[in-house]
Amino acid sequence: MATAQSERIFVLPGDQIDPSLIPSHPKKALRLGPGLRHIPPNELVPTVAGQLVTDPRKNSIWVEYNGGRYVPTVGDLVIGTVHHSATDYFYVTLSSYTSNAILPQLAFEMATKKTRPNLNPGALVYARVCLANRHMDPELECVSPSTGKADGLGPLNGGMLFEISLGMARRLLMRKSVEEGKVVVLEELGAAGLAFETAVGRNGKIWVNSEKTKTVLLVGRAVKETDEKSLTVDQQKKLVRKLVREMS
């Protein structure tokens, strides 16, 4: 998609978008991604500073940027901390200083009134945002409503949580994170023979677990350094080699 783009198109809030850039698909409706505002009848205006990206195949257009605070969107996978629980809900913190998201106690795989999980304040959960709009607190689920399967969602036990930028989280969660997101650090660490598991939250968090404390620290540090120092694919490989050598 982005590879088809020959040059970067940089936009500021309020800029005019050249109509020729807006994809026009004969059948599909135009899909607007983040960072754009539709002013009826037919004006499209960017609301953030970023790079304008279009996907003619999906007939979608959005502004790619990194930074800011996480704003919940339906379908996002997030890592939250249980703040407290009430009769039917867990109240979950997704980021500091924002109001809590709610997670129904029955929104877990195989959960019934008798078998629902018991999560203490401070427990981590990996969940999907299933309801998010500006007037309500976001709602989460740890089970797929169609299949009734957890699909890897649910409480996260042990391990360590690391903070990453929202852009990094987005790259790690891409279906083709190596080709499109240009992040190979986790693959390289796995190839180096380290055994660990991870969960990435779109709200800028990565959870890492392993039997060895050292491995957890190494993985966390590698991901954070890739993020903070904007490492290229080659630099990531080099970093992993260096870290693995230091550990052994």
Partner: protein, 292 residues
């Protein structure tokens, strides 16, 4: 009131587990500080200090006022530490949090009560006119260990500061502008620094320069303020798990080493800054000529 997200149970367990194995999350050694950087401003008395992701800006200013009636021979010296929501939205304007109160008390004890600044030298006309030296401390970014960084920044800014030169002729006070006479440094007696120790487990694990996460998880902490000659200004161990006397003694000797490092760094930076300013030394020469 917006609240700070508490560390999760997983983080709590992991950080402590790692410490017990001798590891810190950011890979530092237990007695290792993050990268400490000091920059002086274009103006005198401005110090910008960063320690990892913690960043503090201190500005010193001076003005002529009347001294307190009960202390006619002393100048006025105040340190203001108001934490703004810039450091964290949990800090509210005009509502001091515990962090802020503790920080200002410690600076008060370390810098003001230890007579680091000779306040008598600030007196101009006894009972009538004196200098009021004001230190404003701004926390721009808070990632733990505010106390050590603040103290370092305050001392750095005060030592860098120059107040306008004055003269008294026949009871008449003249304050010279920087264009007329080069400003003069403060009469500085010694440079105290704070070193904060954080304890984990039963108090047997001791680390230096805890970041915000480590600070949230420590079982107790202890701040020792002293100067390079080993003269201790204060020791604060406010509640928390008790710590063995032997550990405290150990801490004191570690603190002395760290303070010597801080002292050397500050002296070096001050010398560098003086050299840099002297390059445009032409200006100073010119103003000296103009006096006559």
């Amino acid at each position: 009131m917006p609240r700070e997200a508490e560390p999760s149970l997983n983080e709590r367990a992991f950080v402590v587990q790692a410490l017990q194995e001798g590891l810190r999350v950011d890979g530092r050694a237990f007695d290792q500080y993050r990268q400490l950087e000091l920059k002086f401003g274009e103006q005198y008395g401005v110090a910008d200090v960063t320690l990892g992701k913690t960043r503090i800006l201190v500005k010193v200013s001076a003005e002529v006022t009347t001294p307190y009636t009960d202390r006619p021979f002393d100048g006025i010296f105040t340190i203001t530490t108001e934490l703004s929501p810039m450091a964290s939205p949990a800090f509210e304007v005009n509502r001091p949090t515990e962090t802020e109160v503790l920080l200002s008390r410690l600076l008060e004890k370390t810098v003001r009560r230890s007579n680091a600044l000779d306040t008598e030298s600030l007196c101009l006309v006894a009972g009538q006119k004196c200098w009021s030296i004001r230190v404003d401390l701004h926390v721009l970014s808070h990632d733990g260990n505010l106390i050590d960084v603040s103290c370092f920044a305050v001392v750095a800014a005060l030592r860098h500061f120059r107040k306008p030169d004055t003269s008294i002729e026949g009871g008449h006070l003249t304050v010279y502008t920087p264009a007329e006479r080069e400003p003069v440094p403060l009469s500085w007696l010694h440079s105290p620094f704070c070193v904060t120790f954080s304890f984990y487990g039963e108090g047997e694990i001791t680390i230096l320069d805890a970041n915000l996460l480590e600070e949230q998880l420590r079982v107790s902490s202890c701040t020792i303020s002293l100067n390079r000659h080993g003269e201790i200004c204060q020791i604060a161990k406010l509640g928390g798990t008790p710590v063995e006397a032997a550990t405290l003694l150990q801490c004191a000797s570690v603190a002395l080493n760290k303070v010597k490092e801080f002292s050397t760094l500050l002296d070096q930076k001050l010398a560098e800054d003086a050299k840099r300013r002297n390059k445009g030394g032409l200006l100073a020469e010119l103003s000296a000529e103009n006096e006559r």
